[in-house]
Amino acid sequence: MRLKAILTPIVAVLVFLSLWEALVWIMGWPNYKMASPSDLVPAYIRYWNLFLVMGWQTLWRTVAGLLLAIVVGTALGMVMGFSRTMRDALYPLLVGFNAIPKATVVPIIALMFVGYHDVNTVLIAFMISFFPIAVSISIGLSTLEPEYRDILRSLGASQSTIFWKIALPKTLPEFFGALKVAVTLAFIGTNLMEIVSPHGRGLGALFDSGKTNADYPLMFAVLIALAFLGIVLYYVVVALEKVFAGWAERTPT
């Protein structure tokens, strides 16, 4: 059973790659229209050291942005979850902020902290990914049934005890759901900045150089590398979820 759980996604990826290869081959597309998987292999071999360096750049900035989003998102969510007034006050602001396309914010941030490429990138990754976390924590806390509070409050427990013993663990499944969304969003944020800012680094910059040098297989290779990083980070979140919120998963009966 365990083996099957690992093999299934691998087979799915192989099938996808073969269909892609076949499509390009049958249609007779040149590689500037659509590169095929077999075009990517030489690109990886030629630039493997760049992929490692740039991939690491993108990864650590995305993770840093995510961690920032978790800290700020959780804090905002707590404030909104516990206080009706703060919820009424902050929601319109947050929704408005989230509705601004981040592609338009990128040049503003790039100018604001010109020369600090790392800071810019982490900032955009954070800005694009904290919203779902804040919303999920606030909903989790504000929908806590009053009986749960009463059980501890009637024993004289403090607000912070109630938060640590009940509110926080009860919110974890929602939190991890939001974190899975936030992971992919954070990658978008990181890459937006890497592509747009001049003299950028990371996979986004590598993509941009592929574009300037008309190296089309390199551009596709970057996209696949990004997808790979996204999958890795997603499964890290899934593993954390299993450890901290595994109780929420029901075994099918």
Binding site: I151, G156, L172
Partner: protein, 260 residues
């Protein structure tokens, strides 16, 4: 005999958009130490408000609530509560759920002794062997049994039961009634039971208080004679039928459907 719980002429209103809504208006309840008092009344008459007042979770607008000769001004850890919703914490095992109050209330017990006490209570309600299960693996009746253990684990003086058997099927409910008698024998407490079930009230309690419709006041008090250990057959005696009939009539008065 001293009175453990005394509620004197309590009045309380909730603030709503259309002005204050009085829910309690002249409520008097006294329960002696070791007594078991059932409170019945029409839906929405303020029965749950009563439990929150005794637990110190809220203060009455007027009147006084006394527990063990002390005026209640806030929550105190000599109270145990169980609700219709068992509210077990899903990320804890049944044993960890039962131990929870001992993590809040100051206790001299070691971790091992706390768990032994929880195991003892779980055995008392018939849940031996389920200590390490998660709440989601248990049936509704079993969860309610575990919730009862959690309410008793810190040896509270007062056990407040807010319709704990309301969501269970009839047979499971009768099982739990008998469990309650067994538990009270081994783990003495003073009980307040909110219920809609008249049979439940006379089977478990020694005093049944009928509340009037909203705003609630004490309308009628029925003393259930002490006839020794009770079993379910007691519910089919002429005496029980008589008591149920009286209570039924009082409920109809409370609902405004019969003249006093």
């Amino acid at each position: 005999m001293t009175n453990l719980i005394e509620i004197r002429d309590v009045r309380h209103s909730y603030q709503t958009q259309s002005g204050p809504l009085p829910v309690l208006d002249g409520l008097n309840v006294t329960v002696p130490t070791g007594g078991f008092c059932a409170v019945v009344g029409p839906s929405g008459c303020g029965k749950s408000t009563l439990t929150r007042l005794i637990a110190g979770l809220m203060k009455p607008d007027q009147g006084e609530v006394w527990l063990h000769g002390e005026r209640v001004t806030g929550p105190r850890n000599t109270v145990g509560m169980a609700f219709q919703n068992p509210v077990l914490l899903e990320w804890r095992t049944i044993l960890q759920n039962v131990v929870l109050p001992l993590e809040i209330v100051p206790t001299k017990l070691s971790r091992k002794q706390q768990e032994d006490r929880a195991r003892y209570l779980l055995a008392l309600v018939g849940l031996s062997g389920f200590e390490d299960k998660r709440p989601s693996e248990l049936s509704g009746g079993m969860r309610q049994r575990a919730s009862l253990c959690r309410a008793l684990v810190h040896q509270p003086e007062v056990l407040i039961l807010d319709e704990p058997f309301g969501a269970l099927d009839a047979f499971t409910r009768e099982d739990l009634w008998q469990t309650m008698h067994r538990v009270k024998e081994k783990e003495p407490f003073t009980g307040v039971l909110i219920t809609h079930d008249l049979r439940e009230s006379i089977f478990l309690a020694d005093q049944v208080i009928v509340l009037s419709g909203r705003p609630a006041r004490t309308q009628f008090v029925l003393d259930v004679p002490d006839t020794g250990p009770r079993d379910l057959d007691h519910l089919y005696t002429a005496q029980a039928a008589e008591m149920l009939h009286v209570l039924r009539h009082q409920i109809e008065i409370a609902q405004g459907r019969a003249a006093a």
